[in-house]
């Protein structure tokens, strides 16, 4: 009986209670995310010129299939004549209005590296379910995931409050697709951790073919602008943070994983940290009182202190 309820609460399939459970928290973290996303989106928009050229070169091949899937956004006959440029135009528009989740889901699926870059930026407000759906189907496409995984994590939290109705069901389907039903029943603890987000590096069900963060970081960094957007990759590379908060056992999001409140290296989520500050204000890891100023990023980040600081200061302001 108890274990039944455990599975229910943690798996997104439990329709009402699971949502209510995390709703409040998600609503708050959604605000934090919005800050970061806005900054990032602006940067992507401004980098449109670069993407434009790459798109032109690469897109002709895949356009036909994509147009069929994109039928809700089907455009006039002109598109057929001058596929490359128009198609880019289509994407650029979408950066601005970004109101058609389904079209972007499919375009990302069929996309090239550079295009996915555009796609994921514009899908900032697309449905959360494309996070799980995409990634399970996109195992071989290393290049896409480079960006997509990062964005998906942030988006998953961002989207939930907005899309009230169909999401839980579809998210569950996506998970069910990637996890055989027998495993759901037999391995409850792992399921309990299966959240409707992108795969975590240590996730038990994470497909082997997905690139891991360490690998990505060793690749030449072709688009340095991404780093300005507030994703503290550098932090992840040095000490791999836990995937869930050791205090509340909620999954750590990007802001949390880049948050290092104490020199001892004990990480926890922002909510628990705040809660502790309201109490005795001591680090759970070493029992020393927290400093007023969190530990500076230089201890673990190479040349990324500005990056590191941005999300944190944002979130602190939003939260207080």
């Amino acid at each position: 009986m108890v274990s039944d309820s455990i599975t229910n609460v943690s798996i997104p399939s439990a329709p009402k209670s699971a949502r209510d459970l995390g709703k409040k928290k998600r609503a708050r973290s959604a605000k934090l995310k919005q800050c970061k996303l806005d900054v990032r989106r602006e940067q992507w928009l401004s980098s449109g010129a670069v993407v434009k050229k790459e798109c032109k070169e690469e897109q002709n091949g895949g356009v036909q299939g994509r147009r069929e899937r994109n039928s809700p956004r089907e455009m006039g006959p002109r598109e057929g004549e001058n596929v490359g440029s128009i198609h880019h135009h289509h994407h650029h528009d979408s950066d601005l209005d970004s109101n058609s989740p389904s079209s972007f889901t499919s375009s990302v699926l069929g996309g090239h590296d550079s295009e996915t870059f555009t796609g994921s930026s514009s899908s900032s407000s697309s449905s959360g379910d494309c996070c799980s759906g995409n990634i399970t189907e996109e195992d071989e496409d290393d290049g896409c995931l480079d960006d997509w995984e990062a964005v998906a994590d942030a988006l998953a939290a961002d989207e939930k409050p907005k899309n009230q109705n169909p999401e839980p069901q579809r998210e569950h389907e996506a998970i069910a697709k990637s996890v055989p039903a027998s495993q759901i029943e037999n391995s409850k603890p792992q399921c309990a951790r299966a959240m409707p987000k992108a795969w975590r590096p240590d996730d038990a069900f994470r497909p082997q073919s997905l690139p891991n963060l360490a690998k990505q970081l060793s690749l030449p960094n072709s688009s340095g602008k991404r780093f300005g957007g507030g994703v503290a990759w550098g932090c992840n590379s040095v000490v791999s943070p836990p995937s869930s908060c050791p205090i509340c056992y909620e999954d750590l999001d990007l802001t949390d994983t880049s948050f290092l409140p104490c020199l001892c290296g004990f990480r926890l989520c922002l909510f628990c940290h705040k809660r502790i500050l309201e109490g005795d204000g001591r680090c759970p890891g070493c029992r020393k009182p927290y400093e007023n100023e969190p530990v500076e990023a230089e201890t673990s980040v190479h040349g990324g202190s500005l990056t590191f600081r941005l999300p944190r200061s944002c979130s602190m302001i939003t939260r207080s």
Partner: protein, 177 residues
């Protein structure tokens, strides 16, 4: 499945409704405590630590029963003790109340089962969990702090391990008897 879950939540948050003004915050707290306790239970069941176990009481995940086996090569070898753990609504920011249910002849355990262990009081950290608590108590059995005893008789006898062992055996009642 869903109904089981629905049943469980009100039971767990039973203390919240009395304070109407704080209801939302309290509920959110209880939910996160719930999540934490459930995760701990999972970890405990999957972890396979030998010599300790714990499980919630029938309908209340805020009250657990645990067992500890006396470690080998201590005077408590071969014994098993039952404990109760009661979790506050602000767990893990506050420690659970832990006491022995079965009598334990130990310098730091009084006759009513209260335990004198720093991590259950002022040295508590929210990073501790049921597993580390039980392991700590297990090691406390073999390494008592005889300088501030709750059971002076036991503290006095501790220096004579042979006699102590006899006393443990004499006073020991198996949990299921």
């Amino acid at each position: 499945m869903a109904s089981v879950n629905q049943d469980n939540v009100p039971g767990a948050t039973g203390t919240a409704p009395s304070k109407k003004s704080q209801a939302p915050a309290k509920t959110a707290d209880s939910q996160s405590v719930l999540k934490r306790l459930q995760s701990e239970l999972m970890a405990l069941m999957m972890g396979g630590d030998s010599g300790i176990s714990a499980f919630p009481e029938e309908d209340n995940i805020f009250c657990w029963k645990g067992t500890i086996n006396g470690s080998k090569e201590t005077v408590f070898e071969g014994t098993q003790y039952r404990l109760s753990l009661s979790f506050p609504n602000d767990y893990p920011f506050k420690p659970p109340k832990v006491k022995f249910e079965s009598f334990c002849f130990h310098p730091n355990v009084d006759v009513r089962g209260h335990i004198c262990l720093d991590i259950l009081q002022d040295k508590w950290s929210s990073a501790y969990d049921v597993r580390t608590i039980l392991l700590s108590i297990q090691s406390l059995l073999g390494e008592p702090n005889t300088s501030s005893p709750l059971n002076p008789q036991a503290a006095q006898l501790w220096s004579n391990q042979e006699e102590y062992r006899k006393m443990v055996e004499k006073l020991y009642k198996p949990p299921n008897a």
